[in-house]
């Protein structure tokens, strides 16, 4: 039981972080960013390059991931999404753009970083072992704490900073926010950059545990969408709840159902379908969007 709880907290924290950026972008711009997983992978590769290859301190490499992805996110919003949203009211236009970006990122990652799985040296050695009832490597504990701290920092930023308040206003009602003097174009760009930065941050954190390869983007996006659907699209607290729920479902399923083969995700998907049939807006979403 202790092991399941620890695995659930660890998986939940990392999943929540992955979902946060996706739901932030959706809340602000109504864009389903299919390239979110690829942004996560890019963040991992930036940390791999600076920390694993060039020998920078891990914190600086992580910072480089955040900055790179934030700049990339801002540029993507400014030069791709903003013009498309301005010219087309059809939601599928941005969806297609996001899907195209995902393919583009995959191709760039293949060209720049190659096809191989990449990994970096551990940031902390050693394993916490409580009488074989609870085993958790120290680096996982550290990453879990960093992920939780990042989530708390993000919530505080959104709650109390001027930028955070503007972003929340934008998410609640774009027109009303504009009438209240919020520079919609500027804060949309900042919001997209923040969402991309979160993807880069979690990619950089997790590369120390899971490594990174070019194929991780698509599956990561799918998991992020699942978390957002569980919690409610466009709701920050919903993304966190969705991440934690998925993390615990996975931890419990892998521990309890392992003797029946790989049915954990089968059951999770079936449960999700039933759940969405009953509550399509997710736990914390609003039925009207």
């Amino acid at each position: 039981m202790e092991q399941i709880l620890a695995n659930g907290i660890y998986l939940g924290a990392q999943y929540a972080m992955i979902a946060l950026g996706l739901t932030l972008i959706f809340a602000l711009m109504n864009v389903l960013n299919f390239a979110h997983g690829q942004m996560y992978v890019l963040g991992g590769f930036v940390t791999y390059t600076f920390y694993g290859q060039l020998g920078w301190p891990f914190v600086l490499a992580l910072l480089a991931s955040c900055i790179t992805l934030a700049v990339l996110g801002a540029l993507i919003e400014r030069f791709l999404f903003a013009p498309v949203i301005r010219r087309s009211s059809r939601e599928e236009s941005t969806m297609l753009l996001a899907a195209g970006l995902a393919f583009l990122f995959d191709a760039i990652i293949l060209l720049v970083f190659g096809e191989k799985q990449r990994g970096v040296p551990k940031i902390v050695d050693g394993v916490f072992n409580w009488d074989f009832r609870l085993i958790m490597p120290y680096d996982r504990i550290l990453i879990c704490i960093l992920a939780i701290l990042s989530i708390v920092s993000f919530i505080l930023f959104m709650q109390y900073s001027k930028t955070g308040r503007a972003l929340r206003a934008l998410a609640q009602d774009r027109t009303a926010a504009q009438l209240m003097g919020v520079n919609v174009a500027r804060y949309s760009m900042i919001g997209f950059a923040l969402g991309a930065m979160l993807a880069g941050l979690v990619g950089g954190l997790l590369v120390t545990i899971t490594g990174v390869n070019l194929g991780m983007g698509g599956p990561t996006s799918i998991k992020a969408f699942m978390m957002v659907m569980i919690g409610g699209a466009g709701v920050i607290s919903g993304a966190i709840a969705g991440g934690i729920i998925l993390g615990f479902l996975e931890a419990i399923g892998l521990a309890v159902l392992s003797q029946y083969g790989d049915i954990t995700y089968l059951l999770i998907f079936v449960s999700l379908m039933i759940f969405l049939a009953i509550r399509p807006q997710g736990l914390m979403g609003k039925p009207w969007g």
Partner: protein, 395 residues
């Protein structure tokens, strides 16, 4: 006037360049060899190492003036198709090869893709060299598939027997991704282990192919305390994470797989925790690599920036195709002639030291020669490189 002269000169230059270029290009007729496999997504490393091996070898051949088959010297062109590990795409890829008049294709990389393309290949007269293990692909009445590597049911028993005899292994646990290839390899491994008298303490733990954190997956396996943990059909992307998780969970036994791995990936992903990891390799360990193999590795590295150890196995398929065509040039247009030649074909193996031969095998496993004789090289990873544990042959 000057302007008109300049235009004339430019036109003449362009024409000359065009004629000379065509002449140079047309020096040798082109022999197209296809590749249909996965070069995108999580398993991209498998197909990309195939494709790049073929391209590096073709480039080398072309640079040397071409490949002589009968009285004609050909330039080799590799035509590639990414099947995205999707059987429907693999069929489309094989149909594309047929439309281009290609009779020899390397790939696909996985079981379901290889099975899916069989009707197209047999109907269109294409010999294909999959990296997939189902025996029905190579057993009569199947005729056009040639296994491009050593199958797990051939390497597994050899590895388990070695570990039983040399390391005192008595119990074994299997873990596999929830996909057709790894699952079938796991089932074959379980059967082989049981027939050797080993106790199988866990064989039902599987994981999603996109899993990135294996600690929860391996926790129940570790409780069974096996002497040997077999990572059935593990992809190079997952192997270091699985090894790392197992060691961090306190596992001190042996870990092995029957798939080819890459030393750099293991070093980066698992570091010293990967020491002692046993896998199947090809021909580039220093003990057995010939000068040609070293040259191939150098050229591959120059072309693509980094070598992939999986290519130690994948360097062979193109070489076999060309050497067999050389033995019987009629095979260029007639795969039946190629098939006939396979029964008696033998040529020096350029990638291994000594008197190693290229020949077709598989009589024991498939009842007909539908496998290339890649050396069964069992490697052990140690401090960033593979060392040869033992070398065997498949019949």
């Amino acid at each position: 006037m000057k302007r008109r002269n300049l235009m004339k000169s430019s036109a003449a230059l362009a024409l000359a360049a065009s004629v000379l270029g065509s002449a140079a290009w047309a020096e040798n007729p082109v022999l197209k060899i296809g590749f249909v496999g996965v070069t995108s997504g999580p398993a991209a490393a498998w197909g990309i190492s195939n494709q790049r091996s073929m391209e590096a070898r073709a480039d080398w051949i072309n640079e040397a003036g071409g490949y002589k088959i009968g009285d004609t010297t050909y330039d080799i062109e590799i035509v590639s198709f990414d099947d995205q590990k999707d059987p429907k795409r693999a069929i489309a890829g094989m149909e594309k090869m047929a439309q281009e008049g290609i009779h020899y294709v390397v790939g696909p990389n996985v079981d379901d893709g290889a099975a899916a393309v069989r009707p197209v290949a047999e109907a269109q007269g294409i010999m294909y060299f999959p990296y997939a293990f189902p025996k029905e692909l190579y057993t009569a009445p199947a005729s056009n598939a040639v296994l491009g590597m050593v199958a797990n049911y051939q390497s597994g028993p050899a590895i388990y027997k070695y570990l039983k005899d040399e390391k005192g292994v008595t119990s074994v646990a299997f873990v596999a991704a929830n996909e057709s290839d790894p699952l079938s390899q796991r089932d074959g491994g379980v059967e082989a282990a049981k027939s050797l008298g080993l106790e199988v303490v866990s064989d039902n733990v599987t994981y999603q192919v996109d899993t990135t954190d294996f600690t929860p997956v391996l926790t129940p396996v570790m409780r069974t305390q096996p002497d040997l943990l077999v990572l059935s059909g593990v992809s190079p992307a997952n192997a270091p994470q699985l090894i790392r998780s197992a060691r961090e969970l306190g596992f001190q036994g042996l870990i092995s797989t029957e798939t080819a791995q890459d030393a750099t990936v293991l070093r980066e992903g698992a570091g010293d925790l990967a020491n002692g990891f046993i896998s199947v390799g090809g021909a580039s360990t220093p003990e057995i690599a010939s000068d040609d193999m070293k040259e191939f590795v150098k050229r591959y590295t120059d072309m693509f920036g980094e070598y992939n150890d999986e290519s130690n196995t994948k360097v062979y398929a193109l070489e076999y195709i060309l050497a067999t065509l050389n033995a019987n040039p009629a095979g260029i247009e007639d795969v039946t002639a190629f098939q006939t030649t396979m029964d008696t074909f033998e040529a020096p193996n350029p990638f291994m030291k000594g008197n190693a031969k290229m020949r077709y095998v598989g009589s024991t496993s498939f009842g007909q020669k539908r496998q290339i004789a890649v050396p069964l090289v069992v490697n052990v990873y140690q401090d960033g490189a593979f060392e040869t544990l033992f070398v065997a042959e498949v019949d």
